[in-house]
């Protein structure tokens, strides 16, 4: 084909045009909410992080802030009221668990391939979401360890005595 003819061939080329893009709205929703999951997650783990940080300072450096002692006293007080005793477990463990769930959902994509009968799981590398998930996992593990230690281990020791 000659140069001018070939150029004409390119100019007249009928190209594919997709007008019905169904995934567009899903992507838009995900995109416009991508920051929300991390922002909500950050808000959810602020209190547990502060609590752990102050506990750490108190245990390891011996420094005792009056503010923290007041919170501890307040927690002990709430613990005695049946309806309100669930507030701190929810704040300290429930919210980090919610953070893990919403941030995981924002970075993990599941796709079921009907033809090959395969479940394809892809992970989006969003550093901030991943950091939030890791921090939340650490918080949950620390409190789980604390619960196990306080409730089970102490009870076993007491029963042995």
């Amino acid at each position: 084909m000659k140069e001018d003819k070939f150029e004409k061939h390119l100019e007249d080329l009928d190209v594919p045009q997709i007008n019905d893009i169904r995934h567009q709205q899903i992507l838009k929703f995900t995109l416009l909410n991508s920051r929300k999951s991390s922002q909500i997650g950050l808000a959810f783990i602020v209190i547990p992080c502060l609590f752990l940080f102050m506990q750490f300072i108190k245990e390891w450096s011996g420094l005792d802030f009056h503010f923290f002692s007041a919170i501890e006293a307040f927690m002990s007080h709430l613990d005695k009221i049946p309806v309100l005793k669930w507030i701190f477990p929810i704040v300290l463990m429930g919210l980090p668990i919610v953070t893990i769930i919403i941030n995981s959902l924002s970075i993990v994509h599941f796709h079921w391939d009907k033809i090959s009968k395969e479940l394809l799981i892809s992970l989006k590398f969003k550093l901030f979401n991943i950091i939030l998930i890791l921090i939340s996992i650490i918080i949950v593990l620390v409190f789980l360890f604390y619960l196990v230690h306080e409730n089970i281990y102490e009870q076993i020791l007491r029963s042995l005595d």
């Binding site: 084909m1 140069e3 070939f6 150029e7 390119l10 100019e11 080329l13 009928d14 190209v15 594919p16 045009q17 997709i18 007008n19 019905d20 893009i21 169904r22 995934h23 567009q24 992507l27 838009k28 995109l31 416009l32 991508s34 009907k114």
Partner: protein
């Protein structure tokens, strides 16, 4: 969307990021189609398009109206993402061969049962001449692929291509001229 409308939209987005949705609605289809015509693969196009708009969303606040419009900026991000895709050796355009070999013509199915991917592949297979050009285009250097696809797939003017690729108009013309010859040689060799 006119230049003034784009300027106004940019101000709205900078005021409230939620307004990015308007830009998304306006430009997703043309950008997705551009990517789809470049890579001719549904899954890759979807990934590249989402990456393009994610980058635009994250960087829209630092976008300043200097010489290029928002639409050219989006095309530039998409072009860079496509180049990145082609530089990854594993994604080199072998998929197109597979696509041609697994033609949908032999598998007529009710439209209700076709997934979006199948519909897109079907649309692609309706354009045999385009596929031939696209397949040979991917054999060329990326600098030729960019200008040729923008000129003949997207019907952009030299000035628009120059804006999108941040290249001088003379350079674009020269790349187009050499690219056409290389593409023609590639097609002639293949046939």
């Amino acid at each position: 969307m006119t230049v003034d409308e784009e300027r106004l939209l940019l101000l709205e987005i900078k005021r409230d990021l939620k307004n990015f949705g308007i830009l998304f609605d306006t430009w997703y289809k043309p950008i997705f189609n551009y990517i789809f015509r470049r890579v001719a693969d549904y899954d890759s196009s979807r990934d590249i398009a989402s990456e393009t708009f994610l980058k635009a969303y994250l960087n829209i606040n630092s976008f300043t109206w200097k010489r290029i419009s928002i639409s050219s900026w989006l095309y530039r991000i998409a072009t860079n993402e496509i180049n990145l895709y082609y530089r990854k050796a594993k994604n080199y355009p072998v998929s197109l061969d597979k696509l041609l070999n697994t033609s949908m013509f032999d598998r007529p199915e009710p439209e209700d049962y076709l997934t979006e991917k199948e519909l897109f592949d079907k649309e692609l297979n309706l354009h045999i001449k385009f596929l031939e050009v696209q397949k040979n285009l991917t054999k060329l250097d990326l600098k030729y692929q960019e200008v040729l696809s923008l000129r003949y797939f997207e019907k952009k003017t030299i000035i628009e291509i120059s804006d999108i690729l941040n290249k001088k108009e003379g350079t674009v013309k020269s790349l187009l001229s050499r690219g056409i010859n290389k593409l023609r040689d590639s097609i002639n060799t293949a046939t």
